[in-house]
């Protein structure tokens, strides 16, 4: 019997049998089917339903929810969300590029340590991080204590619940999503290209402009998409660090599911957002493929 099992395992992992490959991806396929595909299908069905009294759902198909999504009322929210996410992605790029550059070219033996430090926010509960920011940015918070205490400011700055605090929070959360693809893209540049550039007479800055930067552009695009796209759906940050005028698409959706109890409309909003994200990811995928081909 053990022999048979051994033989089966050998067959399974031989990497040659098509049947074995199907068996190997079976668990993940089921997982994805039940926890991703089915919920998304339900969401799409839900988005076609109607809202009944007390938030009940009437299963009578309509496109009304989608029509509502595209009413002028929500244009400012979409514009604001795109602006905030764009600003976040740009700031992440400005902060992330030097960091990734440092990791690739200067960090040396400390590189792994820095990469792990970079991942720490991922392992922290988002709520804990957000409350930490509230504590830091508050009127009595760390930032104001330092600024006022040192005499740099006469009176505390009210930065909490402003667009500034929201974008700061978003940058904080999504910065690693910028740094990692940038780092991997910079890391992939063969050192020979840089040497070749020096060799042909380009100094360090010219080399950066003419060789390193253009070759890292796939990472820049990837980072931009990986920060911009998930940022579109963020609601926690605006909810806790924002004010009445930092309402984003994510908050709108959250509101439909919680406060407004309008699940069909929330589902329609989510479906549209999901589409936008998929388009973004599609381009990201294309870029990746193009980069692999090169």
């Amino acid at each position: 019997m053990p022999h048979k099992i051994k033989k089966f395992l050998a067959w399974l992992f031989s990497g040659k049998s098509e049947k074995a490959s199907h068996i190997l991806i079976l668990p993940a396929s089921f997982w994805l089917a039940f926890f991703l595909v089915v919920p998304i299908m339900l969401l799409l069905v839900l988005s076609l339903a109607q809202l009944g009294p007390y938030g009940t759902i009437i299963w009578h198909p309509t496109l009304e929810n989608f029509r509502r999504v595209f009413t002028p009322l929500y244009v400012p929210i979409v514009a604001r969300t795109v602006a905030y996410c764009g600003a976040t992605a740009v700031l992440c790029l400005l902060l992330g590029y030097p960091t990734a550059y440092f990791l690739s070219f200067y960090a040396g033996e400390w590189r792994d340590t820095f990469l792990i430090l970079l991942m720490i926010p991922f392992w922290t509960s988002a709520l804990v991080s957000i409350y930490s920011w509230i504590i830091i940015l508050g009127r009595d918070g760390l930032m104001n204590s330092v600024l006022v205490g040192s005499g740099a400011l006469g009176k505390p700055l009210d930065v909490l619940n402003t667009p500034f605090s929201v974008i700061l929070g978003l940058v904080y959360f999504y910065l690693p999503f910028m740094i990692l693809p940038l780092y991997s893209s910079l890391e992939k540049i063969p050192k020979q290209y840089i040497e070749a550039s020096y060799d042909l007479g380009a100094g360090a800055f010219q080399t950066f402009l003419k060789v390193t930067l253009p070759l890292s552009l796939p990472g820049v695009f990837a980072g931009f998409i990986l920060t911009f796209v998930p940022c579109l759906g963020d609601f926690l940050t605006a909810e806790f660090l924002g004010g009445p005028r930092t309402y984003l698409i994510g908050n709108l959706i959250e509101n439909q599911f919680l406060m407004a109890q309008d699940w069909p409309f929330g589902a329609a909003l989510t479906a549209v957002l999901l589409c936008a994200m998929l388009i973004g990811l599609y381009y990201y995928q294309k870029l990746e493929a193009a980069e692999l081909a090169a």
Partner: protein
């Protein structure tokens, strides 16, 4: 309706962390003597539940929410294993309609007579079939005396440009839309489009002055000077004022709401007997008084009165004098489509 008062910020995070444990502990543990109790945060005295457990041997798994809509959404999205929840009066018809709560079996509570007759047979739940009143309070304005020179007495003070960026509003349709209707002189049960348009305009016009919409952290904002004026729930501010004397609470002259929070039996509960035991315990006079003394809300419990702190009894902010009581009303029980109009109005305000 007290939100997250005090500096127990991280409670939500803790809650988020404990929910799975709660689920796990419930799975197939019908025989265990326990009750899963879902309540507003800081809405109970510190020793209430430990004492109950000592007395009865029943373990209480206590979880908190800071937003009633969250609680509602959790119950609605399926069994989270909760046995007992606390809900505000106007929620009751909705929860009944969606079949989220069960009626109390007749004769199950021997202390039910303790409840003040004023709080029985209410419009939101005739014959108190589904509810046992827990605490009551009012909606008003909390403010910081250090930064607000003139005692506010009107809802319009929350629209005063002098306090631009220093104003907080509760984050729910009931209080905001309702008070705005009141300010504009419309009846609470109006269904006129003009009324809701006016309300929407009024609330949107306030947005540039606002620091935040918050039902959770606004008391902290008041304490640390982030905001100077806040639409608030009485007990939240009064409780915080015990330690921060510069905080005060008023009920504006235009009138406001009083509301009752109720204990409700969650449908599908597998610990019904123990849950009833807990409810019965919580309406014992002494126990109910301990809770009110701690959280500084009014107790609907007649038997609790002898045990209430004198400072609480004498506090007109907790027990308003008849002149103020005249101006208070319950939240209206709205027909479903009108309730939806309120919600849509509020959604539009927030989205604007």
């Amino acid at each position: 309706m007290p939100g997250m008062t005090r500096r127990d910020f991280l409670k939500i995070a803790v809650l988020a962390g404990t929910a799975p444990t709660l689920l796990a502990s419930c799975a197939g543990s019908d025989d265990k003597r326990e009750v899963n109790f879902f309540n507003w945060s800081t809405y109970i005295a510190k020793d209430t539940l430990p004492k109950f457990s000592l007395e009865t041997g029943i373990v209480v798994n206590y979880s908190v929410f800071s937003d009633e809509e969250d609680m509602f959404a959790k119950l609605r999205s399926g069994a989270m294993g909760y046995d007992l929840t606390v809900a505000t009066d106007y929620m009751i018809p909705r929860m009944k309609a969606l079949n989220l709560i069960d009626p109390y079996p007749t004769g199950a509570l021997k202390n039910i007579g303790n409840i003040d007759s004023k709080f029985r047979d209410t419009p939101y739940d005739p014959q108190n079939a589904y509810t046992v009143p827990y605490l009551w309070g009012t909606t008003g304005i909390g403010y910081n005396k250090k930064h607000v020179s003139k005692r506010p007495d009107s809802w319009w003070d929350l629209w005063d440009p002098k306090y631009k960026g220093k104003i907080s509003m509760l984050d729910n349709a009931r209080d905001c839309v309702g008070i705005a209707l009141l300010m504009k002189g419309y009846p609470q049960n109006t269904d006129s489009d003009a009324a809701f348009q006016a309300v929407e305009k009024l609330l949107i016009s306030q947005k540039p002055l606002l620091k935040q919409y918050s039902s959770a952290t606004y008391v902290d904002s008041l304490i640390n000077g982030e905001v100077d004026l806040a639409m608030a729930w009485s007990g939240d501010v009064i409780q915080a004022a015990k330690e921060n004397p510069e905080l005060d609470y008023v009920i504006p002259k235009e009138g406001s709401y009083m509301w009752v929070d109720n204990m409700c039996l969650v449908k599908g509960s597998r610990h019904r007997a123990d849950t009833l035991r807990l409810v019965d315990y919580l309406i014992e006079g002494k126990v109910a008084a301990d809770i009110a003394n701690f959280v500084r809300y009014g107790s609907p419990n007649a038997a609790a009165k002898p045990y209430l702190d004198k400072t609480l009894l004498d506090d007109p902010r907790v027990f308003p004098p008849p002149s103020v009581q005249k101006r208070l009303q319950f939240y209206s029980i709205l027909p479903p489509d009108l309730a939806q109009t309120w919600i849509n109005t509020w959604s539009d305000v927030k989205a604007a």
